[in-house]
Symmetry: C2
Subunit: 420 residues, 2 copies
């Protein structure tokens, strides 16, 4: 068995007996491909197993399962497809590859009669892929709402608790190791979009690719937004949302106001949570650590054991996900939701009338409007609006029109409000 | 396939296409055993399938999977064992049978090369059996904390929100259909004990039977307890707890004070939640509807599909749970935890000294003592104590000794305090 990644090798070694009992035979490490053989490793690997030569692992005829933990598209995709073509089973933690190429990999695997498992690609050790593949098969999935990026949830939790602004919190998160030196994939919602594409594909049994997921990051959020949201009874979370209306799937990642009494509003720090609403089960919540070496190892080894039992028992089940081709993707412009709008306006009469006219003319109905503190020197005031259900395209038009009003100094932020 | 239970028949029928695609062939209902053929049913069953004769279903040679949804031990156990001996696979929702006879049923099944699945036996449509059997195999489980009885959680939530007392809330819950006419199994913690035995058996890979689980119900809780708990920063929940210390497993069901900021404290109404702490994943929470026809159907059909795929693919995996015989059960008397104690005392000097002496002599250290409102007419006062970690056996002795004190009119309640 070819395994890349120290945590996995360590668990396979230290829990050999327990895992052998479940599998029916020993699970043996046959080779480990690394970038640098000399790098110090927490788990001592047997000499001769570790190599920088991909062919030594990938072409080893004794290998039944290839475990891909390198991340990124290249060369992981090539290794995965090559291994499938050689009739090897795959366990991968690669959200990017699965979000961009999952359906074609699964089709190739099905044709070759091999399994491809990827529990660790979403929320690490929190079971969500297996529940979608197995436990919920009798259901029609209605929607998925997830907090599936620990870095951004850590930043948002600190902003909420400390009244801090984004840039300072990000810098601190980087220093503490909660955010990477280049945080783009996390803070722009790209990482969450990958994971959402993978989940939506399974949930709706259709091909939802990374480019089908609308994503918007957390960089525009300010301490003012957290203050207002909290007063209005909401938390602010980076939500990954997928739902199906008729035959159309919509998938989107963006900051959202979430009512404080909903479970997802209470998910704090680096933790992840995914709420799946299905027609038989109702709402199910899966909550836990969504990243880290040990949780990832847990998911990867579970997938390895699953496949190894089948290999040992000569009983690999047919893997036919029956993904539909006929589902269409509903663009973000067709979203209907409620909105929070924060405006900096001039502090003089008639502001609300002009803002109200822009919104009213676009059929956006205001549920509440609160004028917040004014700055007497700058002669400005802050206006916070909550709308009723409105159309996204109308809202985008409204934002341009509001920005053009003389009485509006700045459209501070517009955040979607989600209740489900 | 023999299937008992309308929801399941309906889903197998209405989702035939979707399920066939996953299984690789059609899943067909071969017979339905009922108590009363004439009873009106939501789902119309094909004529000839429905019968009151067990042999017609159980001895049908075309049946691969027997689905047992009748509940209770007799005659369900006999049907299950009989079917296993005829090499039929089993799907059951029967917590009582699995808690009392699970290990012997699983051993018989393993010998016959058939599968026995029972996801619906705990928390209905919330996946917890499959995660323990599959997703967490690489882990050592540290502990399980669950709210796994919807009736009691509904009653406790209302008592907390409304300041109501137990008897009135139970009567109301019965009227609304949330509690049965004979609520004993729920309110005494017996139902939860069954479910905990099933989970602990899988989590610790050992034989934890129903009689190994200590259980204590919610009938002694009063509105005063909820008031004090809330002021101290705690919710009161009926917790099902299993953990392993050394080689000894302890399993217990009882009311507990849970810190308000923990996820389990926020699980309200009829909902269920199970928090599993494992060494690689950390804490995982599974949350959702733990009862009801539709959630149960979801779990049962998932188990049917799982087995049917294996049957269709001629690939039934070896089912060896490798349950250990060597694990011992740690009795409740050996518990160490913190305690909340509510006493009605005489309202005169020296009370605290006498109470404190009883506790101190038993090595029970008091963390805080609050004298609550006094009743001037009765010349009584209420004293609420929180202890540090103490031994259960010392606490039981303390309760007898406190009851014998002249200054103590009544030991109102003693509730364990759980933080993990």
């Amino acid at each position: 068995m070819g395994v890349v990644g120290g945590g996995v090798a360590s668990v396979l070694d230290n829990r050999r007996e327990q895992l052998s009992a479940l599998v029916g035979c020993a699970v043996e490490l046959k080779g480990v491909l690394v970038r640098d053989v000399a790098k110090p490793r927490a788990h001592q690997l047997p000499a001769g197993l570790i190599t920088t030569d991909p062919r030594q692992v990938l072409d080893n005829p004794d290998v039944d399962i290839v475990v891909e933990l390198m991340g990124g598209q290249d060369p992981a995709l090539e290794y995965i497809l090559g291994s499938v073509s050689q009739a090897r089973h795959i366990v991968t933690a690669n959200k990017e590859v699965m979000a961009r190429h999952g359906p074609s990999i699964l089709t190739a695997a099905s044709e070759k009669g091999v399994q491809v498992l990827f529990e660790a690609a979403v929320a690490a050790g929190v079971p969500i892929i297996a529940p979608l593949l197995r436990d919920l098969v009798a259901n029609e999935i209605i929607d998925i709402h997830g907090i599936i990026n620990g870095t951004t949830n850590y930043i948002l939790t600190r902003m909420a608790n400390e009244g801090a602004d984004f840039d300072a919190t990000l810098a601190d998160a980087q220093e503490l190791g909660y955010a990477e030196a280049d945080p783009t994939n996390d803070i722009e919602g790209i990482d969450a979009a990958y994971k959402l594409a993978v989940m939506a594909t399974l949930a709706f049994r259709t091909k939802v690719m990374d480019i089908d997921v609308y994503h918007e990051g957390i960089t525009k959020l300010t301490s003012r937004d957290f203050l207002h949201a909290s007063e209005l009874g909401y938390a602010i979370k980076l939500l990954a949302i997928a739902d199906k209306v008729g035959d159309a799937v919509q998938a989107r990642v963006h900051p959202a106001l979430v009512p404080q009494d909903m479970m997802l509003a209470k998910v704090d720090g680096v933790l992840n949570a995914i709420e799946v609403q299905a027609d038989l089960t109702g709402k199910l919540l899966f909550h836990g650590a969504g990243a880290g070496s040990m949780p990832t190892t847990s998911a990867v080894v579970a997938d390895i054991v699953d496949i190894a039992r089948n290999v040992a028992g000569n009983s690999v089940p047919p893997s036919n996900l029956a993904l539909s081709d006929s589902v269409t993707i509903r663009p973000i412009s067709e979203l209907e939701t409620r909105y929070y709008i924060r405006l900096t306006t001039t502090d003089r009469p008639g502001v609300l009338a002009q803002v109200g006219k822009v919104l009213g003319d676009l059929n956006i109905s205001v549920a509440s409007a609160i004028q917040k503190e004014t700055d007497e020197v700058a002669q400005s005031a802050e206006l916070v609006l909550m709308t009723h259900l409105s159309s996204e395209s109308a809202m985008q038009t409204a934002i341009s029109q509001l920005e053009a009003l003389d009485v509006v100094a700045e459209v501070g932020n517009v955040i979607r409000v989600e209740e489900w």
